[in-house]
C-alpha cells in the first residue's frame, strides 16, 4: 500500500464547520473550505479522493486522536453478552465439556429433523453436514462439483463448528444450546466424520488440539488484479 499524506486532521475540522454540506469528506480532503455557503465542488472532487482515508502510513489510521465525542461507553456486560465468537486458536472457548454419546442424543433430538439422521442434509436450505468421501482425499472439489463440502471433507478449523453451532443453531431456536451441549454436538459431528474418536470428550483444551484433515489446503487470495492471463482473452 502506498503511503499517503495525512489529510484527515483538516478534513475532520472542516467537516464540523461545514455541517450539512454534501460530500464533506472529499471536499475537505482536497482543500480547505472557505465558507459554509460555498457549494461543495462535487464534480471536480470525484470519489477517487475517498482513498485519502487510506491511513497505512499513520499508526492507528488517519487523524488518530480526533474525535467527535459521539456515542457512549460500551458496557462490559453488553459486550460480553454479544462477544461469543471463537477464533481458530480457540482462545475464547468457554468452560464446559461434552461427549460424542451425549452429542448423538442431542443430534437426534434437535438436528436430525433438518439435517437428516445421518447428516445427509436437505439441500439447499439445510446443508449436508457429514460424509468422508474417498474422492475428497485429493481435495478435487474444483473438478468435481458434486463432491460434498462436508465437515470432514472440507472444513479447515474445528473451532468454526463450535462457534457456528453456538451462535446459529438449532434452526428453530437459534442460540439456545448450553456450552456443554455445543461441545457435545461438536464432538459428535467430528467423530462421525472420523476426525476424533467415537469415545472422545471435548472441552476447550481438547477442541484446541483438534486438527482438521484438510486444514493445510486453504491459502489466501493470490489473484492478479491487474491483468488476466493471455489465455483468458476471448
Amino acid at each position: 500500500m502506498r503511503a499517503r499524506t495525512n489529510l484527515n486532521t483538516r478534513t475532520t475540522l472542516a467537516c464540523l464547520a461545514l455541517a450539512g454540506a454534501a460530500a464533506c469528506g472529499d471536499a475537505a480532503a482536497n482543500g480547505p473550505a472557505t465558507s459554509a455557503s460555498t457549494p461543495a465542488a462535487a464534480p471536480a472532487v470525484g470519489p477517487a479522493a475517498f482513498t485519502d482515508y487510506d491511513g497505512a502510513a499513520v499508526a492507528g489510521g488517519p487523524g488518530a486522536g480526533k474525535r467527535f465525542g459521539i456515542g457512549s461507553a460500551a458496557a462490559r456486560t453488553a459486550i460480553a453478552a454479544m462477544d461469543r465468537d471463537v477464533g481458530p486458536d480457540g482462545a475464547e472457548l468457554p468452560p464446559g465439556r461434552g461427549t460424542v454419546a451425549e452429542g448423538r442424543t442431542l443430534y437426534t433430538a434437535q438436528c436430525a429433523a433438518c439435517h437428516g439422521l445421518n447428516g445427509e442434509g436437505n439441500e439447499p436450505t439445510y446443508p449436508r453436514l457429514l460424509g468422508r468421501v474417498a474422492d475428497a482425499e485429493g481435495f478435487k472439489f474444483a473438478s468435481d462439483p458434486k463432491l460434498p463440502h462436508t465437515i470432514g471433507n472440507y472444513w479447515p478449523h474445528a473451532t468454526t463448528l463450535f462457534d457456528y453451532i453456538r451462535r446459529a443453531m438449532p434452526h428453530p431456536q437459534p442460540g439456545s444450546l448450553s456450552d456443554d451441549q455445543v461441545y457435545a454436538l461438536t464432538a459428535y459431528l467430528l467423530a462421525q466424520d472420523d476426525v476424533i474418536a467415537d469415545d472422545a470428550t471435548l472441552d476447550a483444551a481438547a477442541l484446541r488440539a483438534v486438527k482438521m484433515p484438510y486444514a493445510d489446503r486453504f491459502r489466501p487470495d493470490d489473484r492478479k488484479p491487474t491483468a488476466a492471463p493471455a489465455a483468458a482473452r476471448p
Binding site: 475517498f50 473438478s143 486453504f218 482473452r233
Partner: protein, 413 residues
C-alpha cells in the same frame, strides 16, 4: 385533511372502466404475468380526469418487474436486470440473499458496538451514527455466488435475471468506517475486525482493518430513504467492491483483533477450490464483469435493422475502463459507449448500436477495468479454477440470436 381512499390496482382499473362506461378498452398483455388480467385504459386519456394523488407511488399497471424469490428463510431472490434501465436498482427489486431470514429490528433499540483492540469501546445508537459527517456513494453489491447455475449448468432458456441477477446497485448514505474507528481509537496492532449482524445466524465475517481506512462505510440509507429491511435496516456494513456476504447486514458489533476468526462464512462457504487441490480464501474483490441485458432471453427481435445492445459492466477493483461487444461470437470486437460516467466499484451502463441483417448472431460483452483486468471467457475460467469452483463467477456471457429473432442464453465462451 382527508385521507384519500386506498385503492388497489384492480379497484383503480375497475373505477376507470366504470367512468368510461362500456367504452372499448385497450388491453396489452403482460409478459410472464399470467394470472394478472390485462390492464384496462380508456381509448383517449385526454377525455377524462386521471387518478388522484396517493400516499405512495405505484408502477404503471403495464410494468410488473419482480424478483424471483426462492421463498426460503435461507434463500435468495434475484433482480430482474432485463427490466431495468440506467444503473440504479429500485430498492424493492434489489436482490436478496439471507442466511436466516430478515430480522425485525427497531431502530430505536438497535445499536452498533465497537470493541476489542480499541482505546475506547463505544456503543452507537442509529441516531448517533447519523450525527457523524456523512458521505453519499453509489456502489454495487453482488453475491459471490452470482451466476453459479449459468456457469455450471447453462441452459438456453436462462434469463439475464437468472444469469446475473444477484447484482444490484444503490446510492448509499452513510459514515466512513474510518470516522468511527478514529472515534474509538483503533490500536495500531489491530489488523482484522470481526463484523457481526443481528439476524438469527448472527452472521460474522472477518475484514482486514485496511479496508476501513480505505473506503468502508456504515450505511443507513439506500436510494434516498432508510435501508430496506432486506438490505440491512437500520445499519449495514458496506465494503465497496467486495463479495456480497461480507457487507454484513443488520450490523450490531465490530471487534478489533489481530487475526481472522475463520467463521463458517469464510471457510466452509465463500472459498474457491482450485485445481491444484487447494482452496482460495478471502477472495474479497469481485473482478471485472459485464452482462448484456437487452436484448436477452426471452426477447425476440421483431425486425431487421438497428438495435441497441445494452448492458451493465462493473469491477470491484475500481472503474470500468472499457467494454467491448461482439456480435459474431468473439471473432471481432467493437468498443461500446458508456451511457453513464464510470465511477469506482460502481456499474456503468454501456451501449453498442448494431444493425441486424437477419442472420444468426452471438452477442457477447467483455469488460476491462482501470487496472487492466479483462473479463475472462468461461473456458479460461474453467481452466484456471475448474467447473467445481464455487463462487466469484465472472465469465464472458452471451446471447444467441436465431434467424427468427428469438434470443437465448449463450454460455460457451
Amino acid at each position: 385533511m382527508t385521507t384519500p381512499p386506498k385503492l388497489t390496482r384492480r379497484e383503480m382499473l375497475a373505477g376507470t372502466a366504470g367512468l368510461v362506461g362500456g367504452a372499448m378498452l385497450t388491453g396489452l398483455p403482460l409478459e410472464g404475468q399470467a394470472p394478472e388480467p390485462a390492464p384496462a385504459v380508456p381509448p383517449d386519456a385526454t377525455k377524462l380526469q386521471g387518478a388522484p394523488t396517493a400516499p405512495l407511488g405505484a408502477r404503471s399497471p403495464f410494468e410488473a418487474p419482480t424478483r424471483a424469490p426462492s421463498g426460503a428463510t435461507t434463500g435468495s431472490s434475484l433482480t430482474p436486470l432485463q427490466d431495468l434501465s440506467g444503473t440504479i436498482t429500485p430498492s424493492d427489486l434489489h436482490f436478496e440473499r439471507h442466511h436466516a431470514g430478515i430480522p425485525a429490528l427497531d431502530p430505536a433499540r438497535h445499536t452498533l458496538t465497537i470493541h476489542g483492540l480499541v482505546d475506547r469501546p463505544l456503543t452507537f445508537t442509529v441516531d448517533d451514527i447519523r450525527r457523524f459527517p456523512q458521505v453519499v456513494r453509489t456502489h454495487f453489491v453482488e453475491c459471490a455466488g452470482n451466476g453459479r447455475a449459468a456457469f455450471r449448468a447453462p441452459k438456453p432458456e436462462m434469463t439475464a435475471q437468472q444469469v446475473a441477477g444477484m447484482l444490484s446497485t444503490s446510492e448509499y448514505t452513510g459514515v466512513p468506517l474510518a470516522t468511527l474507528f478514529r472515534e474509538v481509537g483503533v490500536r495500531p496492532e489491530a489488523s482484522w475486525f470481526l463484523a457481526e449482524g443481528g439476524d438469527a445466524c448472527v452472521m460474522t465475517r472477518s475484514v482486514p482493518v485496511a479496508k476501513a481506512w480505505d473506503d468502508a462505510l456504515i450505511v443507513w440509507a439506500q436510494n434516498g430513504e432508510p435501508l430496506r429491511p432486506a438490505q440491512g435496516y437500520p445499519l449495514r456494513l458496506l465494503l465497496p467492491g467486495w463479495e456480497g456476504n461480507i457487507n454484513v447486514k443488520w450490523v450490531r458489533r465490530l471487534e478489533l483483533g489481530t487475526r481472522p476468526w475463520m467463521t463458517r462464512w469464510e471457510t466452509s462457504k465463500y472459498t474457491d477450490p482450485m485445481p491444484d487441490g487447494t482452496a482460495r480464501q478471502f477472495t474479497f474483490e469481485l473482478d471485472a464483469k459485464s452482462v448484456i441485458t437487452s436484448p436477452s432471453h426471452p426477447d425476440t427481435l421483431a425486425r431487421k435493422g438497428w438495435h441497441a445492445i445494452s448492458g451493465l459492466a462493473w469491477s470491484g477493483r475500481g472503474r470500468i475502463a472499457r467494454v467491448e461487444v461482439s456480435t459474431d461470437r468473439g471473432a471481432t470486437w467493437h468498443d461500446a459507449e458508456f451511457l453513464s460516467r464510470p465511477e469506482p466499484k460502481s456499474p456503468v451502463r454501456f451501449q453498442y448500436l448494431w444493425e441486424w441483417t437477419g442472420r444468426e448472431a452471438t452477442l457477447l460483452s467483455r469488460a476491462t477495468d482501470e487496472a487492466g483486468f479483462v473479463q475472462p471467457t468461461r473456458t479460461a475460467l474453467i481452466a484456471e479454477r475448474g467447473l467445481g469452483t464455487d463462487y466469484h463467477f465472472n465469465p464472458v456471457l452471451g446471447w444467441q440470436v436465431a434467424r427468427s429473432g428469438q434470443v437465448t442464453f449463450f454460455a460457451e465462451t
